[in-house]
Amino acid sequence: MELGPYLLLATLEGAVTAAVLALTAVGLSLVFGVMRVVNIAHGEFFMLGAVIAWYVAQMMGGHPAIGFGAALIVAPLLVGAIAVAVDMTILKRIDYDPERTIVATIGVLYIIQQLTLMGYGPDARPVAAPFNTRLAIPWWELKDGSLQMYWPWGLSTTSYKLAVIVAAPLVLLGVWLMMARTRIGLLMRATQQDRDMALAFGIPVERVYALVFGIGAALAALAAVLIVPIQQAHYLMGTDPLLLSFIVVIIGGLGSLPGTVVAAILIGLSDGIISVFFSPTLAKILATLLVGLVLVFRPQGLFGTRGS
């Protein structure tokens, strides 16, 4: 097989990574943007989404689509509710102080992780995809001076992976519509830009914070439900999404949602392509190097604004 089909395959794998990463990172970026706090436990909310998806799928039985569909709704809602509880019982009490929030969410990270280990166990468990048709991908080659289509061996993807690539942009469109067009989005953006003035105009800032923290966690959980038919649920699976989300949020510009999406596509695609051609470790090394370069030469990120 020549290079072209490999590159296409790697790009498709990268697009799945990018789609899931974009959802997770937008959740992190939303929390940072509005609340100005860094949530180290974000990866654990991702992991919880996958684990809850497994429990829900087990309980529902029947056709895989029923369990998966239920998980798609239950996991984000449940994880969102847990995050709201974390916000109200912990973050609110330390007054959203940036440093103390980092320490507190590290604590939350270990609590969630160890409770999952105690309850769910150390095994990696799969969730069946709702549909998983194998799709062969055609390629073209030049034969006798004309282009001919053929089906290279091993060049295929699944309908489920394509569905993930389509679903993530739709969810992100929904998030954007919420921020740009709805009343609650207006209140969130007003709170983001000037907390004191938001209070002075009757916006219940603490409730907005709880809601934003819940939505951020729910997005991570949703991303995990989407990936769990491909990757399996495991109690340590939150580490990589957390690291990659931070990389994406820093490169995109802290708190900038469009920047986060662009950086997620960039990092996701390059992660997929480099992993296929070289190794996943090299992909992480390069991504981390890119963060270093961005921090040195453009500290506000690609789409961030200086001093905000």
Partner: protein, 231 residues
Amino acid sequence: MLELHGIGAGYGRAQVLRNLCLRVEAGEILCLLGRNGAGKTTTMKAIMGLLPLMAGRIVLDGTEISALPAYQVPRAGIGYIPQGRRLFPGLTVAQNLAVGMQTRASPPEVLEEMLDLFPRLRERMGQRAQTLSGGEQQMLATARALCLRPKALLLDEPTEGLQPSMIEAIRQVIVKMRDRGVAILLVEQRVDAVLSVADRVAFIENGLNGETLSAEALRADHSIVDRYVGV
């Protein structure tokens, strides 16, 4: 209408206001005069609930607003025009006004009324607040606060850095609101601007009450002004 009973407030452990008492009646402009650092802006923030009270209480129209959480203070009917305008810079003019409209769920005709009061804003509805000129920003900050249909209006140096025609426009709006029965608390540095609109003037010095005098008396005897704010 708006009463401050012996309030104390400050930042952290540094107390700025001590036993401060003020009273603004409906349909009256009370001007707060004092040197830099005397506690004028702190008084405004304390009324809005943005600083915790160390002592005393604040009452608006019979409601003890100092007992409410900060976000409910404006809902009781206080419009705040802060120093430096403090618009939501990334939001459009329309969205900034929408934030003011939602505070007390004002009916849509209030927005129309604001746009009639400040026709310049109507042309700029889709523009981000940070791209407006200084005068337009002050109009927007004023309109945003008036969108609440407030019982009491707090203005913190509304004419700072504005050209004379704009100062006159703001002055006319203030007087119009007074004639409608709004209680107005005005902080202003420029004594001549104060004396032309204020009904009464309260002096504040090192966070403590000074005298409260009618503006007429001050216009007659300028020496008191010099004692409190003179160099």
